[in-house]
Symmetry: C2
Subunit: 337 residues, 2 copies
DNA sequence: GAAATTAATGTAAACTCTTACAGTGAAGAG
DNA sequence: CTCTTCACTGTAAGAGTTTACATTAATTTC
């Protein structure tokens, strides 16, 4: 592969001149610049990322840590949506994204932080289920510019989907349709789950509705088996709820199947709602009532904040940015009397 | 950041010795090795990727080019599934993956190949809609190790979902249920589409079933609006089909909505099937009949083949690997008489 | 006990790039 | 005619690592 040296030899100028010519420095004559450019093209010159990074200590690389229960979060619609928009945004600004290796099967793997330092990423974005993991904490507490999604760390930038308001809005909507016996299958303990529970109770409290404890049950996210089982239990209660809220759109499918299997109609007999706004689910009749999380905005804001933190660390405000979701009414919440 | 030099100073040995000690060379005494290791840990030493890459000309980096119509293919369930499994597999072997920048909005962006050469990726995996794009061709024809997914290039490794057999199987299944008037809304021209069309006609031909031309219509992939419209047209024909096959599971939703809107029942009046096996869709009642593409296997095979090509270029067989899908019967194809 | 072997360590170059600084020659100033 | 300025180009260091080869000391061989 052609290097600056090859070009310099061919052009009869020094390596420094070539470098400056290609990087548009002003102290190079137009003539030289054009000649260098031409030869560079002829030789099929490609700059060498590693050499440049070594010298400048900048990689224009961003590390991505998206981990869900199973693997890398790529098949997780919400994460995928966020990542997709994050990616487009940073790429526009000339950054590349590399996944932080989170394989557990490697013989002597690096920790997340080690991996980040090794690659010299300019910054890191993190979205995952388990923010409590020591390795994640180690990374967040390091001096690498970092933005987290849906979880707040002390003194770090976080982009948050507004789960409190979202869940309040969804619950309010159910109440406005006449529901008082609302069950909530929520996810396992996490920042997100806590926020949504807060929103849920905020709505019911305000309307003076008391939700029996047995209506509020933890299940896993995106686990149709879990919601199926728990839904069955709810339906068999003497004091059956009229409305069931699920951790997410996907897990709602498990619940809906249980409801139908028990011979109930949706929404005439039992109303349901999900959370996320996954098109593959909400585009099907009867359209699932849900809160659409603004993955586009979340990814974009995360990207812009991170780049700002990288490029202007002094003036970037460390804050939690909250991105509202929006209620998609759908057709799975019935009006009751 | 601590470097080899810092360790060498601290230990009173040469930089070379430190390097060898850390890299497990055999010509270093155990005592020295342990001492170096210890000091390295104390100083929080992290190897420098760029320096290493510069010297060795190896990055253990793999470039990923996943482009769909809209963006990066991350929100495309099939691609996401393939990528997820690809990622896990290469990460196990110590490779990292970076997206090849495909932003069109960048001022003076590099071509795909330039970007790959710049980063010095050891290999590249490509899955995209538009394999005809000159930039893609340039990349594929270069001397970078490459594996393509669902598209065959001369003399290059390709991993193919078995679309011919899959579509044959699906069509056969419909025929076995008594359907003769089968419409097929297929995707826009592409390797995948062609293969599936081949499979479709192979099945109908074998059974001596003639499909009217107006039953076979091009729509886009993952476009519910398109399938909605075309389904409407089909339903309004005097000679209405009894069964409609869709380009993919997601676009089938548009068709199903049209069918219901016209007052037909699924599958009693009109049978439908999709393609892909997207759980968010197939896990809902009535379960959509589809072909599940083995994304796990496709990603894994692509990864293994690519790594083999990188590490043992001489002995790696250049071939097209075909991965079969599997029929998921579901409940949207009815038996008719 | 000299020669040969082995084990451990060191030397130095190279990979490619950027950049602070130095140098050159020409033009302009006085 | 000297001095300064300007426009351009060159020199050289250094970023952190790997590795072929050289060196040294200790051990074995006959």
């Amino acid at each position: 592969m052609a290097s600056l040296k090859d070009i310099s030899r061919q052009c009869g100028v020094s390596v420094a001149t070539v470098s400056k010519a290609l990087n548009n420095h002003t102290d190079i004559s137009e003539e030289t610049r054009d000649r260098v450019r031409k030869v560079a093209k002829e030789l099929g010159y490609s700059p060498n990322f590693s050499a440049r990074a070594l010298k400048t200590n900048r990689t224009h690389g961003i590390g991505v840590l998206f981990v869900d229960e199973a693997r890398s979060g790529l098949t997780h619609d919400y994460f995928a949506g966020v990542l997709d928009s994050f990616k487009s945004t940073v790429e526009e600004k000339g950054y590349d994204i590399t996944f932080i290796n989170c394989s557990t099967k490697q013989p002597n793997r690096m920790t997340f932080l080690e991996h980040v330092k090794y690659h010299g990423f300019d910054g890191v974005v993190i979205a995952c289920i388990d923010f409590e993991a020591p390795e994640v904490a180690e990374l967040v507490q390091s001096d690498v510019p970092v933005v987290t999604i849906d979880h707040v760390f002390n003194n770090k930038i976080a982009i948050m989907s507004d789960n409190i308001t979202g869940m309040t809005e969804l619950t309010d909507y159910c109440i406005s349709k006449g529901h008082k016996k609302i069950a909530y299958l929520h996810g396992e303990p996490s920042t997100v789950t806590t926020a949504r529970l807060t929103g849920f109770y905020r709505a019911t409290d305000k309307k003076g509705i008391t939700i029996p404890d047995e209506y509020v049950v933890a299940t896993k996210y995106r686990d149709t088996v879990g919601t199926y089982k728990e839904t069955m239990k709810l339906l068999k209660m003497k004091n059956r709820p009229t409305c069931i809220l699920y951790p997410d759109d996907f897990s709602a499918l498990g619940g809906m199947n249980a409801i139908r299997e028990m011979g109930f109609r949706i929404p005439e007999d039992i109303s349901v709602a999900g959370y996320d706004g996954i098109k593959a689910i909400t585009d099907r009749e009867p359209q699932l009532t849900t809160i659409i999380q603004a993955t586009d905005q979340i990814g974009e804001r995360a990207a812009k904040k991170l780049i700002s933190l990288i490029e202007k660390p002094k003036t970037t405000i460390i804050e939690q940015v909250v991105i509202p979701g929006s209620l998609q009414e759908g057709k799975t919440i019935a009006r009751i009397v």
